[in-house]
């Protein structure tokens, strides 16, 4: 099924008018959001189709405000009668909640208006057929198997093809509509050694535009190479060593830092970085930017989840935290204005967050390590935001005399996120916009590595 987003835009506009009018009659302010999409995913395993999924979901969500009180609701029923019922029920409940001065629609001077041409919708994505998707997945998996005869098995290769649209309206006149597309490709091969031990890793890529997607041959090859490189991995000795994080792991550190300075964490005092605005939170090699307006970015958004216009902002400038990213609720709790980072409700989210490229080629970084760890994958998600304590399982490679050596598994790296960012001693020149939140290779002076 092909969704016609132009006619959907018109349908939603008409429906929104009716619902906003009813909200006015009920004496409440309203934020009304619609979403719809069209999605296809295929998984091919050992050359055969394993799973094919198609759907065209839609939904509505709303927030009702009365004075300083707020109630929210969502539904998969998007016909006018159902949405009006949802509104009535929310309006009925709104007197139950307590007043909170932070509640309310965003300031209207911050609303997104006009149209943005950020190239986040590619009509060619909608034209990817089931057969084409299967062919891409098949080619990618084949490329992984071709890397080495020890790749004997596979969890599969998947292709996802998505288009979608969202719209936000509110009682203060906001009307914003955006279509998006994305296509993704992932491959998960399994290598097996003669002793029967198995090693799995994978690689993936996604893009807004079909033409920007890495080729199946490239994604498959990288997946295969990563997998084979792990053969023979073991735990390493315990001790304090320099740790180099590859971009695919360094990006997670950037995300964690963002969550620790988000307006929600700050007003809840649930972070070790309260009172950090304007202060040094990292080494002066670290500059972190959020650029929602980058063309074709995976996190590109001309407006946030409340319809507030977004802009490119430097979050950390040469180590100094410049501001707390906020949506309307967290901003008001902190006595300030939204920075365009609402993730819906009181949550805060980044858009295209990245750590700026440094000057050190990653090879040079590794060449400077006498003995240490190069981390290419995390296992687990543990992190204590209140204390900054960081302790995670890793895979990667032992570095000896500046050279990548034995593969490593069943090993952890631990430290404190605040100290880790202050201990950044090199930032790679290898930044690529690949994941949505991105980082170049990053080297940390010393962390506790725990293995045998």
């Amino acid at each position: 099924m092909r969704v016609n987003y132009d006619s959907l835009n018109e349908e939603w506009r008409i429906l929104a008018e009716a619902v906003l009018a009813r909200a006015k009659e009920l004496g409440v302010e309203l934020e009304l959001k619609f979403g719809a999409g069209d999605t296809l995913s295929v998984k091919v395993r050992k050359g055969e189709l394993d799973e094919l999924r198609q759907s065209a979901p839609f939904g509505v969500s709303l927030r009702v405000f009365k004075g300083q009180r707020s109630v929210s609701a969502s539904s998969s029923h998007v016909d006018e009668r159902s949405v009006l019922e949802l509104l009535a029920r929310a309006a009925d409940n709104v007197t139950l909640v307590d007043e909170d001065a932070a509640n309310g629609l965003p300031d209207s001077d911050l609303f997104f208006s006009g149209t943005a041409s950020l190239e986040v919708f590619d009509p060619d994505v909608a034209a990817v057929t089931v057969d084409k998707a299967i062919a891409m997945a098949t080619a990618a998996e084949k490329a992984a198997f071709a890397v080495d005869p020890r790749i004997t098995n596979s969890s599969g290769a998947s292709v996802g093809v998505n288009t979608g649209a969202t719209a936000i309206y509110n009682s203060l006149g906001l009307a914003a509509f955006q279509t998006r597309s994305s296509v993704s490709l992932s491959v998960s091969p399994v290598a097996e050694e003669s002793d029967g031990e198995k090693y799995s890793d994978g690689w993936w890529h996604s893009a807004r535009f079909a033409a920007d997607l890495a080729t199946p041959a490239e994604v498959g090859r990288i997946a295969g190479e990563r997998c084979v490189a792990l053969i023979g991995a073991e735990k390493v000795k315990t001790g304090k060593f320099p740790v180099v994080f590859a971009p695919e792991t360094a990006k997670d550190l950037v995300s964690l830092l963002f969550s620790c300075v988000s307006g929600t964490a700050i007003y809840k005092k649930s972070t070790f970085l309260t009172d950090s605005e304007g202060k040094a939170v990292a080494s002066d090699l670290v500059t972190i930017v959020d650029d929602p307006l980058r063309r074709r970015g995976l996190g590109t958004d001309p407006f946030d989840a409340e319809g507030v216009a977004t802009s490119r902002q430097v979050l950390v400038d040469k180590g100094t935290l410049k501001f707390y990213p906020c949506g309307t609720f967290s901003a008001r709790r902190l006595g300030r204005k939204s920075t365009g980072h609402s993730g819906g409700g009181n949550s805060v989210t980044s858009h295209n967050l990245y750590l700026e490229a440094g000057t050190t080629p990653p090879e040079e970084m590794l060449a400077g390590v006498q003995e240490g760890l190069f981390v290419t994958a995390f296992i687990g998600f543990s992190f204590n935001q209140a204390t900054g304590d960081f302790s995670r399982g890793v895979r990667g490679f032992w570095v000896k005399d500046g050279k990548l050596g034995l593969p490593v598994q069943e090993t952890t790296v631990s430290g404190n996120l605040g100290q880790m960012f202050k201990d950044v001693v090199a930032v790679g020149n290898d930044l690529a916009f690949r994941f949505g939140t991105d980082s170049p290779t990053v080297m940390i002076k010393e962390m506790m590595v725990s293995g045998a």
Binding site: V71, K269, S270, N384, R392
Partner: protein, 476 residues
């Protein structure tokens, strides 16, 4: 409540139209097809530092339609409960078989009888006015603040869901089940001399507000507060291989990660699991008998029936250290030529089912918990966890500890900072040297992620001792 017309009356679709759609999934030669109908209603209340900040309700309903040919499946769903829409999706998934004659379906005339003793609160409080529940949140908020003047912030939430699900298959199965779920969360922040610490506690299950007859909001708030306050003084945990003693209950997350996922049959039929081909072989110490059982009344991981119409059961996975069974859904069971074990579960109508755990636990042993601790000269004692993860193929798993203590000369001493513990499935379970007699099942809280699907699960374990496992501390 489970009369034969409920599938029809609840979802507003005539039995004939549902049957037609099931038949349509086989029109091109698929060998199995099913329709999964769902109508879920959720309510949640959020108290933010003493104020009822938000009430949320949501409804989500749709029909998932599947066609299976051998090990291959096609899946689609719609949110429109209209006969023509069902036929459109059925026709789309039927293409899983590209050539072949239409197969005939056997449509069940009557629904399966399901056990009714696993859920409580079927006329759940989800529909009750929010005002009736506010006092539960207020009580938790007050209890946390009363626990210690060091408690600086309190967040409390209550979420309830009632999920009506129905299934009609091409192979003579039909059911309707109504599954309730309640979850109560308390998060606190304690502060002392500029140091902060977070504490979290959660409870619930397939139960309504009567949950609180057994465990009070105050008890949960005190548990969260106790963790935050005790851990304020935590010192760095040791690094490297250590003796680890696990407290009863939530420590079962070890089993979930170390063996649970690896024994899901999809990974084994595909040969990607470390446990593939190991049925009948030793994979743990002889002290370990591990069971997956969906039958504990009110438990978060329990189900009367899985999402493919197989009643949940009690499945011994590891018997005295020997691997005896995987957990199956319909596709893997057919692959192995056996019956499904009732583990075919899905997050919602938006997803096809796959092998998933229910309540996974270890049978109790004979040691007293005091003896397990007293026998440990130096080690760490792990009590509360935030989750875990596993690499199916190499068997590496982690579990994330948020409350732990040093054991010195057989006694618990200093609290330790958050730490991740990493091990390898069969190796770690092979080093289990003592199993206590104090089995505890988890109370609510655990959600398991696999692929992109989340399902509620339970875990259970007694006090156990693992002789050597790598602790990701910072103290050498």
């Amino acid at each position: 409540m489970r009369d034969r017309s409920l599938l029809q009356s609840h979802f507003g679709l005539a039995a004939e139209d549902l049957g037609k759609a099931v038949r349509a999934t086989l029109a091109r030669g698929a060998d199995y097809g099913d329709l999964f109908l769902e109508d879920a209603v959720t309510t949640s209340l959020v108290m933010d530092d003493g104020k009822l900040r938000n009430v949320t309700f949501s409804e989500d309903s749709g029909v998932g339609i599947r066609a299976v040919k051998g090990d291959t499946q096609a899946y689609g769903y719609t949110q429109l409960f209209e006969p023509a829409e069902l036929l459109r999706v059925a026709d789309q998934v039927a293409a899983v078989s590209r050539s072949g004659e239409a197969r005939s379906a056997v449509i069940a005339a009557a629904p399966q009888q399901l056990r009714t003793d696993l859920y409580s609160g079927l006329n759940a409080s989800v529909t009750l006015a929010a005002s009736a529940k506010v006092s539960l949140l207020e009580r938790a908020d007050a209890a946390a603040r009363a626990y210690s003047p060091l408690i600086q912030r309190v967040d409390v939430s209550l979420a309830e869901e009632v999920r009506v699900i129905g299934l009609l298959t091409s192979y003579d199965k039909r059911f309707v089940d109504i599954q309730p779920m309640l979850r109560f969360n308390v998060t606190v922040v304690a502060e002392k001399n500029g140091r902060k610490q977070q504490g979290y506690a959660s409870g619930g299950g397939r139960v309504g507000l009567e949950y609180f007859d057994g465990r009070s909001p105050e008890a949960l708030a005190q548990e969260a507060s106790r963790i935050a306050v005790e851990m304020l003084d935590a010192r760095p945990a040791p690094a490297g291989e250590q003796v680890v003693v696990l407290a009863p209950g939530d420590s079962g997350v070890l089993l979930h990660e170390a063996v649970g996922h690896g024994l899901e049959a999809d990974f084994n039929r595909k040969g990607t699991s470390k446990y593939a081909g190991r049925i009948g072989k030793p994979v743990a110490s002889k002290l370990c008998t591990v069971v997956d059982e969906g039958l504990f009344p009110r438990s978060r991981g329990s189900i009367a029936v899985d999402d493919e119409g197989t009643p949940a059961g009690r499945n011994v996975l590891i018997a005295e250290g020997t691997l005896v069974s995987y957990m199956h859904d319909r596709i893997s069971a057919r692959h192995y030529g056996i019956e499904s074990t009732g583990n075919g579960r899905r997050q919602s109508y938006r997803f096809p089912p796959m092998p998933r755990m229910t309540n996974t636990y270890m049978l109790p042993g004979t040691a007293t918990p005091e003896d397990v601790i007293a026998s440990t000269k130096k080690g760490i004692y792990c009590k509360a966890f935030s989750g875990g993860q596993v690499n199916i193929s190499n068997g590496d798993f982690v579990f994330q500890v948020v409350e732990s203590y040093l054991i010195e000369e057989g006694k618990l001493t200093a609290p330790l900072k958050d730490v991740v513990i990493i091990g390898n499935g069969p190796d770690a379970l092979g080093k289990v040297s003592m199993v206590g007699n104090d089995l505890v099942q988890s109370d609510g809280r655990w959600t398991c992620g696999k692929g992109s699907q989340q399902v509620p699960v339970g875990v259970g374990i007694s006090t156990i001792k693992v002789d050597a496992i790598t602790v990701g501390g910072t103290d050498q």
